[in-house]
């Protein structure tokens, strides 16, 4: 589904040489997998997610999504890839403020000029428990509700890969748990859809099928279906 090969990313420094953030990362995300990326602050986990999702240009290396090398695609083609195959859930600012929850959910389909029925949109909102709030604008929704609308968008559009950057970072425990259940549900829907989630919440990471622990821009450990204690120990070892 997503293949990353020898990926590097450096950011320009105020003085001197560029600062390397990712140092030759290679990984694969197969269909239907829920992958969590954890690591200490500055380990490069968010940068990895953005490079994997073609939101940020890598310095070198290759990212293939559904077999297409994103490095060779123009901005228009990347936009098409995003609206047809990718979904995003950010830590905050997920929704267009001037659109209602219903309009935000239908937005990717509208941009792709795909038909999406009102019933599909309402069903997605109902799945995240926000059927009653369909006509609300983001400013009238709590942070957790906004996150759930972003997930409803993912449910309605059914992208092949969902990228989530700290989706529970600004939420309370209960709202965070709801969001994680919904993300896990996407990966386990049996429709070969993958979820890549960056998080600093180790309990949240333990909900994933596979956990990558990053340290200084490289993969330090890889855990399969770990318990929270395993993730904690691995991250402690990386710090």
């Amino acid at each position: 589904m997503v293949e990353v090969e020898n990926l590097t990313k450096s950011f320009p420094a105020a003085r001197g040489r560029p600062v390397p953030v990712l140092r030759g990362i290679s990984l694969q995300v197969p269909p239907g997998q829920f992958l969590a990326v954890v690591g200490p602050s500055g380990s490069g986990k968010s940068t990895l997610l953005y490079c994997m999702s073609a939101l940020e240009v890598a310095t070198s290396g290759r990212v293939r999504i559904l077999g297409r090398d994103t490095g060779g695609l123009g901005r228009g083609a990347i936009a098409k890839l995003r609206r047809d195959h990718l979904g995003f859930v950010f830590q905050s600012y997920n929704l267009i403020p001037s659109l209602t929850a219903r309009e935000n959910v239908a937005l990717p389909a509208r941009l792709a000029r795909r038909r999406i029925s009102g019933a599909d949109v309402d069903r997605a909102l109902a799945e995240v428990g926000l059927a009653e709030r369909a006509s609300y604008r983001p400013s009238a929704l709590s942070g957790g509700q906004q996150q759930r609308v972003a997930i409803a968008r993912v449910l309605a559009v059914r992208p092949d890969v969902v990228f989530a950057d700290e989706p529970t970072g600004a939420l309370d425990t209960e709202s965070g748990a709801q969001v994680l259940d919904l993300l896990a549900g996407v990966a386990r829907s049996g429709q070969d859809r993958s979820v890549v989630m960056v998080t600093h919440d180790l309990e949240a990471a333990a909900r994933a099928d596979r956990v990558l622990v990053l340290r200084d821009g490289v993969i330090h450990r890889e855990l399969i279906s770990p318990r929270a204690d395993d993730v904690f120990a691995a991250v402690a070892g990386a710090s």
Binding site: S46, Y50, L55, E56, V57, R75, G76, A79, K80, R82, R83, D84, L86, F88, F90, Q91, S92, Y93, N94, L95, I96, P97, S98, L99, E103, L107, P108, R110, L111, A112, R113, R137, P138, S139, S142, G143, Q146, R153, D165, A170
Partner: protein, 436 residues
């Protein structure tokens, strides 16, 4: 506190630069009018009487325009920084102190801007005076002057209008709930306030008073009161804007079906939902359209051919206020471009192409100008009807200048929306969407 005042001015330079620009532009226009009055005072005799009459009309146009433009820009200046004010309270700043800091910032910007504006007027005064009075050898022979005695009232006017205009907004800033800093903040909808009701009703009463005097006014002197009607009516519409503006935008933009264009859909929602932002842009544009159209409609109503208004006269009468109104609209778009960047990033993340984002930005400019044209033309049409009632002449002379100003404004507004959008599209989405 001084440190907070100045560091915040620098941190939000884009917003404050817009306010500074409008303070300077208002002062420049005001200083040129003040220069004319000073010149009249020094000249004495018939020349003084003629100059006082002309300057009075220009001053009236300038005051109406300044009140609408400066009010809109000042309100937007504060509204765009609501989140910052919420953060200030979160770190322990008392609401009264927040209000004090915001008022102090408005004071600093208005004084600096108005002094700069007066200085800018100095080299412009003589050539503009000569150009405007080319057709009058007696007046063009005068030596225009602007001394501190003329400049100080202008600086005071600009400072008072900006500071008082922002006073209520500063109060709103002081009462921004700190929790807003943690949530997605949307500028609050503009609502009717007591000041708006009073301003609108007083202006409406002024319009009624002028209209009542028209039947007893001779054709040779009717043009001046008639040409005041259109900008005054625009002022009334601007004051009552919160009652109907968002609805008006939604109604007329629905002529293009939502399914026809995603860019139009995004632009119309953005314009209608962000009432504070939209009103700040549409109101000055509406005044610009009403000024230009009203001048020609009044002239046509008293039977003068359109050609009777020389370019010099038009520049003299409405040039400054027009410039101020159009600059005001452009400044408001520039000031709120930071907020737009986030929306563009979200559209990009949702799969919008750069072309779609650019088209949506351009569509927003079109919606602003078309709405302003619709409202401005209604003020011009009212002037035409009143003129026909009072003078017995029907004219369509106001239509073409209104359209010309709207076209010019559209070009400038397209530049003000599209250019920052091109720059915004170069920013990587994660940086724009990162929590501040």
């Amino acid at each position: 506190m001084l440190r907070l005042i100045f560091s915040d001015l620098v941190a939000n330079a884009r917003v404050w630069l817009g306010a500074l620009l409008i303070a300077a532009a208002t002062a420049t226009v005001g200083a040129i009018v003040a220069g004319d009055i000073e010149t009249a005072f020094a000249a004495g005799g018939n020349e003084a009487l003629a100059l006082y009459g002309i300057s009075g009309t220009v001053a009236a146009f300038t005051v109406i325009t300044a009140l609408v433009v400066v009010g809109a820009v000042t309100n937007l200046t504060v509204t765009l920084q609501q989140r910052g004010y919420a953060l200030w309270q979160l770190v322990g700043l008392r609401p009264t102190l927040v209000r004090l800091v915001v008022t102090a910032q408005l004071l600093v910007v208005s004084i600096v801007g108005s002094v700069l504006g007066c200085l800018l007027a100095l080299p412009l005064l003589k050539p503009l005076f000569r150009y405007a009075f080319t057709g009058s050898p007696e007046l063009s022979a005068l030596s225009p002057r602007l001394t501190p005695a003329g400049a100080v009232p202008v600086i005071l006017f600009v400072t008072v209008v900006i500071t008082l205009g922002g006073f209520r907004a500063a109060g709103r800033a002081a009462h921004t709930p700190p929790i807003q800093s943690l949530r997605e903040v949307e500028p609050p909808d503009r609502r009717m306030t007591v000041a708006r009701w009073m301003g609108g009703l007083v202006t409406l009463a002024l319009v009624a008073a002028i209209v009542a005097t028209l039947p007893a006014t001779g054709l040779d002197t009717m043009a001046v009161p008639l040409m005041l009607l259109s900008p005054l009516l625009a002022g009334v519409l601007a004051a009552f804007g919160p009652l109907f503006l968002a609805r008006l935008v939604r109604v007329w933009t629905s002529l293009v079906p939502a399914t026809a264009s995603a860019a139009w859909f995004l632009a119309r929602n953005s314009t209608a939902a962000n009432a504070a932002r939209s009103t700040a842009t549409i109101s000055p544009l509406m005044v610009a359209v009403a000024l230009a159209g009203g001048l020609y409609a009044a002239n046509g109503a008293v039977g003068a051919p359109s050609g009777a208004l020389s370019t010099g006269s038009v520049v003299l009468l409405v040039g400054g206020p027009l410039l101020l109104a159009v600059l005001g609209a452009v400044a408001t778009v520039f000031m709120s471009s930071r907020r737009r960047e986030r929306e563009f990033a979200l559209i990009t993340a949702a799969g919008g192409t750069p072309a779609l984002v650019l088209t949506a930005a351009a569509a927003e400019a079109v919606i602003y100008v078309a709405t302003a044209l619709l409202l401005g033309l209604s003020a011009v049409a009212a002037t035409t009807v009143i003129g026909a009632w009072a003078a017995g002449v029907w004219t369509v002379a106001g239509a073409l200048p209104s359209l010309t100003i709207a076209t010019l404004a559209l070009v400038l507004l397209l530049a003000a929306t599209v250019l920052p959008t091109i720059v915004a599209l170069r920013h990587e989405v994660p940086r724009v969407l990162a929590p501040e």
